[in-house]
Symmetry: C2
Subunit: 272 residues, 2 copies
């Protein structure tokens, strides 16, 4: 039974708190039985499972499944996960898994891609992944200057969608927009005002929804590369929706226009 | 220049942290220049303004406007607002204002009402208010058992919408659903599966969107009072959307169906 200072727990802690260490290791931390279950189901090689001594029989069985697949299982003293994950009510289990992002070349260029340029808030970033996944979008792309896709808060808010939708990260916004244009996607910049009303725009074709930062919006170089501008209308006296809410509205309008034709197969991590 | 232990600051602190004290006083705390500006613009009697000594000239001018309207203005030592509001990067100003909720009888029964039953997460609750406000809904109703509408996190995530959309709080879910039914609203329960696809349902008439708790969904007594059930479809492998995301999707679908006919006038706090 390991305490907070033990070496495996400190490794988990560094992966949780240190972006550079995550990327050096190319591993990240997932929390909770649902995430662990999904990781195992998606065939991802789970490397470490950290479980509270008080875990339920179901959870111990899940840890055994991970162990059978090659994971090291660590039993922890009560309260250790709360300190590692810095949450008041932690999940009873955490796990270390390899990163799941894919290259731009690996996404489906005939579908809907959500492109985040400079999205800083981890909760918003995770919600974008979650909405894109739930609405059946083909990919999410986080450009340089956005929050780390593997930030624990982002992973938490994405609610497992990282395992279901191809995600690209760390790409240069201008380069990726050029590339999406060459592949025939219609690049639509989301702007707070004076764009076309989003629901008047045909979103059934190959489309990239380009979302800007919470405060600054899209940089000129990104705007200049887009083929159109769309706006989510608002009551006159409202502040702007945040970027996660706008992405949710747009992804669901695209899904509605596409007649809820959710893709049956998606590119999975490791399938390329 | 007041410190953390001064009496006015401790009053602010109690209003921030103590739900019962808020309701005894029937006052709550708003943070930031935008909220203060909106409170003044909406004619709300601002009672106290708490401002950092390092505030900008613009902000001092805003505080002067509040003072001219009868507010007491308190200058604070640097760092006091961070401690009071328990946020890492606090706004440079906070203010105490009277509660703004209205009675059920004061809402527009011909429009769209969002009814939250047992929504526990303050961020989700605030996002529901924000989405309802931005999409031009007629009212939000938080039933007993939901998080406090005036929780600082809820106020923060509502992004000022509390000043723009009539909000009802603390009502009994069964009673309010009965009342909405008598007033002719079509009560649609949002359920995670097996409801009608929301975009196939006519949302242009007088409608109540009834949203359940994050985990438990709607209680049977609330479900039994609804006239229909709607579902936001999801890709097969997704976890459910959270209640705030679902409310955002539904409010915007209603606004789309209504042709973006945002109401020109709304019931304001104090207008009854």
């Amino acid at each position: 039974v390991l305490g907070f200072r033990s070496e495996p727990v400190q490794h988990l802690r560094r992966l949780t708190t240190n972006r550079r260490f995550r990327w050096t290791e190319r591993r990240f931390v997932i929390e909770g039985p649902n995430r662990l279950e999904e990781a195992l189901r998606s065939g991802l090689p789970v490397e470490g499972v950290y479980i509270e001594t008080t875990a339920s029989a179901d959870l111990l069985a899940l840890a055994d499944r991970a162990k059978a697949g090659g994971a090291a299982v660590f039993e922890l003293q009560t309260g250790v996960l709360a300190r590692v994950c810095e949450v008041a009510t932690p999940q009873p289990v955490a796990a270390v898994v390899p990163m799941v992002d894919v290259g731009v070349g690996d996404i489906d260029f005939t579908s809907l891609a959500v492109v985040a340029v400079g999205v800083q808030d981890p909760g918003n970033a995770g919600t974008i992944v979650r909405s894109a996944g739930a609405s059946g979008a083909g990919a999410v792309i986080f450009c340089e200057g956005s929050v780390d896709l593997y930030n624990p808060k982002t992973v938490r808010s994405s609610a497992g969608a990282l395992f279901h939708i191809p995600a690209v990260t760390g790409v240069n916004a201008e380069e990726v927009l050029d590339e999406l244009g060459r592949k025939g996607l219609r690049r639509l910049a989301t702007v707070p005002r004076q764009g076309d009303i989003y629901s008047d725009v045909d979103l059934t074709g190959a489309t990239a929804l380009v979302m800007g930062a919470e405060a600054a919006g899209l940089p000129d170089a990104a705007l200049a590369r887009c083929d159109g501008r769309i706006t989510v209308p608002m009551a006159a006296d409202s502040e702007s929706l945040n970027v996660a809410m706008a992405a949710t509205v747009l992804c669901y309008e695209a899904a509605r226009q596409r007649g809820w034709a959710f893709p049956n197969s998606r590119i999975r991590p490791g399938s390329t």
